[in-house]
Symmetry: C2
Subunit: 123 residues, 2 copies
Amino acid sequence: MLHLKQDHSELVVLSVLAEDPSYGYAISKEIAARSQGHFKLSPSAMYPLLTKLEKQGLVTTSWEEIKSRSSDPDATGRKRKWYTISPKGSKRLTQHIENQQRVLKILNGFVPTSLRDSGMGLA
Amino acid sequence: MLHLKQDHSELVVLSVLAEDPSYGYAISKEIAARSQGHFKLSPSAMYPLLTKLEKQGLVTTSWEEIKSRSSDPDATGRKRKWYTISPKGSKRLTQHIENQQRVLKILNGFVPTSLRDSGMGLA
DNA sequence: TCAAGATATATCGAAACTTGATATATCGTG
DNA sequence: CACGATATATCAAGTTTCGATATATCTTGA
């Protein structure tokens, strides 16, 4: 299991949302699936991050009332909070990736040539 | 000026030391030079990091007394702390880069195809 | 000669970040 | 009807980060 730092978490979450709106639980499942279980965003990492993205205007949110199949017509039903990437969020994602590429390129300049030449370069 | 996270700082410092032993001040200058000023490791980031590397046995250290040209024969002289990468440190550097490559590959799987196809992929 | 900038190492503290543990509640299935 | 999955969220304790600060020496040029 690889450790996802905040920068990477943000990149991954915005990437997932760039394809379709989703919600916390589904996003965490998607991340685990798409990374073959290598990446994991726990609830305690996920929700603060989503709240931060919302505050920064990178995503918009809406609540969905999940209709219960319960026979009780008064049942409250479970709530689901949907996250949709905003234009600002899309822009941020692009910038984020561009930035990663730039960092990677410079970082690669530090990798010893012996390692770089043996196909271990980063860029 | 790009923000160097600890993971990247460690990679960069070990990479610099993999070529030749050096000391704190010189390492920070080397990093600024080799990155065209894009990366910067301030003293407050550099010295705790070097101490950590030393404690983990990734580098060995020795003090050098810098001979003063001062006419005072009793002058203490400035001290310089040299850092040399250890076999354990070399191994860590290789693992570090391998790990970066793995993370990058998985991360790239999250980048939207539209961005990936336009040459913005990470791996 | 002497002031200023470069060389050199190091700590402090406030803020931000990280994460396992915890809390709460509903849904689906055997 | 119990249990695992779904679903969101906070807390607290630990780690990380970094500008500011401290200390001291060396070098250069006005």
